[in-house]
Symmetry: C2
Subunit: 418 residues, 2 copies
């Protein structure tokens, strides 16, 4: 595994681009067969992949990486089986390519169609978690795209072994091996190069923390979709069913605190704060609570929330609590501090629910349901490549459809414009 | 009209952002009334607008601006009436906001809806042509967005007068004046600031040349949609109706050479080059032709095309001609040199047409019709803000729908995730 030469990213991007027409033209059957074969090959190559992963894990431990991070990197048999299952599930999903999304004719006789087509080359830059390598490949292939991947330095051995295995399956199934291209130069310079392959890369999707996102904003020249933070709120309205609200905040905060659709903040109408906060505190077992002055009047033992708390995605068993005068203040607070991911209201008042869903500016707005449902699988999209908090192209869970674009196909009989 | 202070762009962006909720919530009736009132007000303020425009025109002539450029800047009564009519036409278009684009339920009882909503603040940076000021405002308002505008220094007086007039109409119709905010600092620094208002601007649309586009790629931190070049081809297949092909290339090249959907290159199958090229040359009156070796065997008097010609958008009465062996070579040439805008085939062979429309990678692919039809009006979308050659969010003509995003609205009855 030698380091690639300067300019190597460009060369790899050219290979990805060159493979794109054949991948875009591949039939659903051919793509599904390659996905199933890739799943089998990953399991067949388990020993080789585990050995490669051990190299990454050993290196991480040697440099003193915290065990929590090492765990994200680690592959075991269950995780490899899950990766293979993920590819099989994608094979089962409907192929978005070729769908006619609109069809009309014009008075001059032109027949117009809008057809769903692959993006071409989808670049994904990600941190650790070797399963992203096969997950991203699967979604890209099914949607007719080449997966151009750049994982972290810490996962390089694992990612090389996984792509080697997938490329073998692609080759044996008559698809271009370059349907997946992994950048093996894990330097910072290569990461910047990776973001600047304009004309070769059709869409860049970063999966990582704030440092990666700001590097994208500063350096990228290719189009990108950002899978952003989730500073999600649950608002308990004056007209809430308080038992339901307690169930929802417990689920939204505690069921899996480390994910982007977990709640980070509880907003409570003043009319119910006195009743609801003690109830909530009694069931949010083990959750560190911080609150504003009025929340602390009800729960005097909790710490004061700082300004920073309102905009922090804890991703942990911590929750900020704010008491508001009314729905207006709740909406203003959520729009002012949220990240536009998933925002929930608990209320029996249909008018309040309507105002909340209309006025809160987020990818998903929810009434009487946990924010944890905002995910591709729960929406029925199947696997997802991320959850977009931007408004262009894709907003919310990004499944196969969000990995495509559309093309106008126009048939005439010799029309010219007057 | 004093220069704005440093940081002024941020202040203006904050004003635009603050106006966004009220503009997004405005009813169709309120928006249409304000559009019609703005049209009336522009005509009522004609003298003031013309006087301001005269300042710009005089300044341009003083610094020796070519008359062709001065003409782009010039407003006369007809052009002002056209601007007002443009606003009235937008009032007549259907409002895209609030449309439910998908609706389904999940086995756990969640009711899912996907609803079209405004982007919020749409920033537009453009060169000369004061009509863009009112056109952009009209499309933004109808789609529920604030128009945050930055025109060229050359058009500042005109743009200020136009926005003053529109803001008066907005105020008198109960909508926020800041539904249109014009940046009056026309320095380069302000242009860069304008591209970096992340968190305040939801979408940036540049309308200008390559220098502006590369500044966006290097500097922008806000999401953007690029209205790119059109290096459009007409391919005359072996099975073409040659009379039809001649009509189409004449229309595509000559009907309005300065626009992005005009053809810049003619690609001809070798089997018909001998018959077609003399016919084409005889009707392309006044068009400068350059060709490859095989084209020049048929038309020995034309100049040789250089490599640069194949990728040049002339926007003028000039056309490059290439003879290809077959459809494969035509597709490869077009994908290799085109800008992904509009690409046409002329053929009676349905199989060739299918291959061309499937394999050519462009916003619009056309069979037996002039490329000149690729425009929002001709598609039936009404007015357009530009034609996107990128694949994310919007591809092809961008009308009102492309100025919106979608939001998931989810109703439950207390569901929590297991």
């Amino acid at each position: 595994m030698k380091a690639t030469a300067p300019g190597a990213v460009r060369g790899l991007a050219l290979r990805a681009r060159a493979a794109a027409p054949a991948v875009a033209a591949a039939s659903t059957g051919a793509k599904d067969a390659a996905l199933l074969a890739s799943a089998d090959q990953l399991l067949r190559d388990a020993a080789e992949i585990m050995a490669a992963n051990q190299v990454d894990v050993d290196r991480a431990r040697t440099v003193g990486t915290p065990e929590q991070m090492v765990d994200r990197l680690l592959l075991d048999n269950d995780r490899l089986v899950a990766m293979a299952d993920g590819l099989r599930q994608v094979a089962d999903l409907p192929d978005p390519v070729g769908t006619v999304t609109a069809e009309w004719s014009r008075p001059n006789g032109l027949m117009m169609r809008k057809v769903r087509v692959p993006l071409g080359v989808v670049a994904i830059i990600y941190e650790n978690r070797p399963n992203v390598t096969s997950d991203a490949f699967g979604l890209c292939l099914k949607s007719g795209n080449v997966a151009f991947l750049r994982g972290s330095s810490g996962g390089l051995s694992s990612n090389l072994a996984i792509t080697r295995s997938i490329r073998r399956a692609l080759f044996e199934n008559g698809l271009p091996e370059d349907a997946v291209v992994l950048v093996d130069d894990v330097s910072r310079e290569a990461a910047v190069d990776f973001m600047r392959q304009r004309g070769l890369v059709d869409c860049l999707i970063p999966r990582g923390g704030p440092a990666l996102i700001s590097s994208i904003l500063e350096n990228a020249t290719v189009p990108y979709v950002i899978d952003g933070d989730g500073n999600c709120h649950v608002y308990v309205d004056a007209a809430a069913d308080l038992e339901m609200a307690a169930d929802i905040i417990v689920n939204a905060k505690m069921q899996r605190p480390s994910v982007c659709n977990a709640a980070e903040s509880l907003v409570v109408h003043q009319a119910v704060a006195g009743d609801f906060l003690p109830l909530a505190a009694s069931v949010l077992t083990g959750v560190e609570l911080v609150g504003d002055e009025r929340a602390r009047q009800v729960l005097p033992y909790i710490a004061a929330a700082t300004d920073e708390d309102w905009s922090t995605e804890y991703l942990d068993l911590k929750l900020s609590i704010r008491v508001v005068n009314d729905l207006d203040e709740a909406i203003a607070h959520i729009n002012g501090t949220g990240s536009g991911h998933s925002e929930a209201i608990v209320t029996e008042d249909a008018l309040a629910a309507d105002r909340f869903t209309n006025e809160v500016d987020a990818a998903a707005v929810l009434v009487n349901v946990s924010t944890r449902f905002v995910d591709g699988d729960e929406f029925g999209f199947g696997a997802e490549i991320g959850i977009s908090t931007q408004k262009l192209h894709a907003r919310g869970p990004m499944g196969l459809e969000q990995l495509t674009t559309e093309k106008y196909v126009i048939h005439g009989t010799g029309q010219v414009r007057a």
